[in-house]
């Protein structure tokens, strides 16, 4: 493949309609796509790690396949499932259209399998990889490295038709294993600063007035700075909060500027946090 093919304008990520992309991340995404490496994203909840995969899929016009990792998950679940029970049932009652002696008819693809056999190149989002244990992670990377896996039951090797664009997210503070990290590109998404946040809000609420955006974002960062909060409100909370404010006919912007914060519950999801926040707000108003 020549360079020109790899940087084909059609295949270069430009950010999507609801996603504000920063320069660094755009470059990293493009390089990862070009050298076909999985991209591992870490960062606080609400920094848009998973959203990035949706944005890539949207802007490159590729289908998105999401694998939500669970702690009990085994690698084979992500590759394919062999539906033994249906087969057993069919063999007993014989009233289905499937051919019982053909095992392949009872094999369905898991998320990784789907990404491999898809007709077009896909974006494969592997969400919250840290939930699974280390073995799962390493084995999965082997599969993604070689872009193929075996279905033992029918002795068949599934190879990727098109190498999917792989985005992996992790919330873990702890590092993933070395072999895993060795096969990924890595980026840590920092929490957006207030300029960036205003742009994000503008993307989500294009018709919102500038002073309203500024007041909301300022209040939001003030609340994030309160000490002793366990779960700081993130972008998602801010967007929901603005939505709540917008739909409230009694809401007055000057109140917010004065320091009063309605709908605290949208921003703080833990009761001790909410308690601390409302006390601080009361102090600030006084």
């Amino acid at each position: 493949m020549t360079i020109a093919d790899k940087i084909n304008p059609l295949n270069t990520f430009r950010g999507a309609s609801r996603y504000v992309l920063d320069e660094e991340l755009a470059k990293i995404v493009n390089v990862s796509i070009a050298i076909e490496m999985p991209l591992l994203l870490k960062g606080e909840p609400g920094t848009g790690k998973s959203m990035l995969a949706y944005a890539i899929a949207e802007s490159l016009g590729m289908p998105l396949i999401v694998l939500n990792v669970k702690s009990s998950m085994k690698l084979v679940d992500a590759l394919y499932q062999y539906d033994t029970l249906t087969r057993l049932n069919d063999s007993r009652f014989g009233d289905s259209t499937r051919n019982v002696s053909n095992i392949e008819e009872y094999i369905t693809m898991g998320k990784i399998g789907q990404a491999f056999v898809a007709d077009n190149r896909t974006v494969l989002l592997i969400d919250e990889i840290d939930k699974a244990d280390t073995d799962f992670q390493d084995d999965m990377l082997d599969v993604l490295d070689q872009m193929q896996f075996d279905i033992i039951e029918i002795d068949k090797t599934i190879s990727a038709v098109h190498r999917p664009v792989v985005v992996i997210t992790s919330n873990a503070k702890k590092d993933l294993s070395d072999p895993f990290l060795g096969r990924c590109n890595f980026h840590h998404i920092a929490f957006p600063d207030s300029d960036m946040m205003r742009r994000i809000i503008n993307v989500h609420f294009p018709n919102l007035q500038g002073d309203m955006v500024r007041a909301c974002v300022d209040a939001f960062y003030r609340l994030r700075d309160i000490e002793g909060i366990e779960k700081k409100p993130a972008t998602r909370e801010l967007i929901n909060w603005i939505r709540a404010l917008k739909s409230d006919p009694d809401f007055v912007l000057s109140e917010l500027r004065r320091g009063d914060v309605p709908y605290l519950g949208v921003l703080f999801k833990k009761s001790p946090d909410m308690h601390i926040a409302s006390r601080r707000i009361a102090q600030m108003i006084r």
Binding site: I3, K6, I7, N8, P9, T12, F13, R14, G15, Y19, V20, L21, D22, E23, E24, A26, K27, I28, V29, N30, V31, S32, A34, I35, M37, L39, L40, K42, S72, T84, L85, L88, N89, R92, D130, D133, D145, A172, K173, K174, D175, D178, L181, G182, R183, C184, N185, F186, H187, H188, A190, D195, M196, R199, V203, E230
Partner: protein, 397 residues
Amino acid sequence: MFIDFFYTLRDRGVPVTPTSFLRLHRVLSLGLIHSVDEFYTVARSILVKSERYFDIYDQVFASRFHGVELQEPGDEELSELAKLLLDEWLKNPRQVADALGVDEEELARLSPEELIKYFFDRLKEQTEAHHGGNKWIGTGGTSPVGHSGYHPGGMRVGGVSRNKSAVKVALERRYRDYSQEGPLTRSQIGEALKRLRRMVPVGPKDVVNVDKTIYETIRNGGEIDIVYDRRLRDRIKVILMIDNGGWSMDPYIDLVQTLFHYVRAQFKDLTIYFFHNTIYDEIWLDPQRWNKPEKTLAFAAKDPETRLIIVGDASMAPFELTSKKGYIYLSSMWTRPSIENLQLLSKTFPHAVWLNPRPACEWWDAWSIDIIRQVFPMYELTLDGLDKAVGYLMSRN
């Protein structure tokens, strides 16, 4: 070639592998990087795999690219790197071949000496082809094509550029917060303890056991007999014993409290006991160590599957451990030396660890630490230590 950049990162403790370094060169030779800014970003994503090292990376990057002339690497440096590459090759030939952009089998035919020679030549060739460092990347902004040095058809960025050079950004040390030196926080403890669990079947039988179902069905002569099992649930039991007395533990109160709070939230079946310095004939359920004593001997009857975690600095006068009357409160009369109590606990609970908030480098100066380490495996109360302790607690020993 930036070989010194690579070595400086390694010297400063960033685990950079030669493979990833080669990968970076592949990206450079593909012409994907057009400015120092882009180099800063892309090199970080390829070389550095944890935000904890971002701060070191920034420092190294700033000092390396801040008005410093780039130098051609000497043959000596190249052959060092070639040897490192051989190590990588032995571990994972495929990756190295990929990073070099050559066929794995072609390399596999070579002997180790030939491989070193081959790697050396390739590295040398890359160095010369690009006349040293700066030419690997175009100068930002002066590129004839594209907006601000970007490749034609490159990406459009949502918003204005950050208007700072990569070196300036690096000098800001934005990632200082993430560097490793920070204290252990609650969520980090959570991460470390997440793996501590014991799956046992409980609850209603609602999961199909395929193997048994097939077996029973065949035994039934083809009449389907579906066998259900109970689901696996976490039923781990944990006993936590905390040294909460004495001035020697004072510096670690915050740390132990953090652990304490998290552990309370994490484990359903948890009992917490308190002691002072070491464990005598009684141990207390109340932090005041007064109202609710429990006999240490009674622990022998508890479930041996319980995980026992003892937290203390294990620093005390030797006689406190070994003497029958070792207890520091003279009015009390004890019948057994404390070390026997510790041995009893370690015999009862094969899965037991001692977490020490004192850093391991200080352990040599307390004789009592030595003795206790013969009874319990001891780990530092750090993220790393917790991780190892959990590993030990989960092993089938």
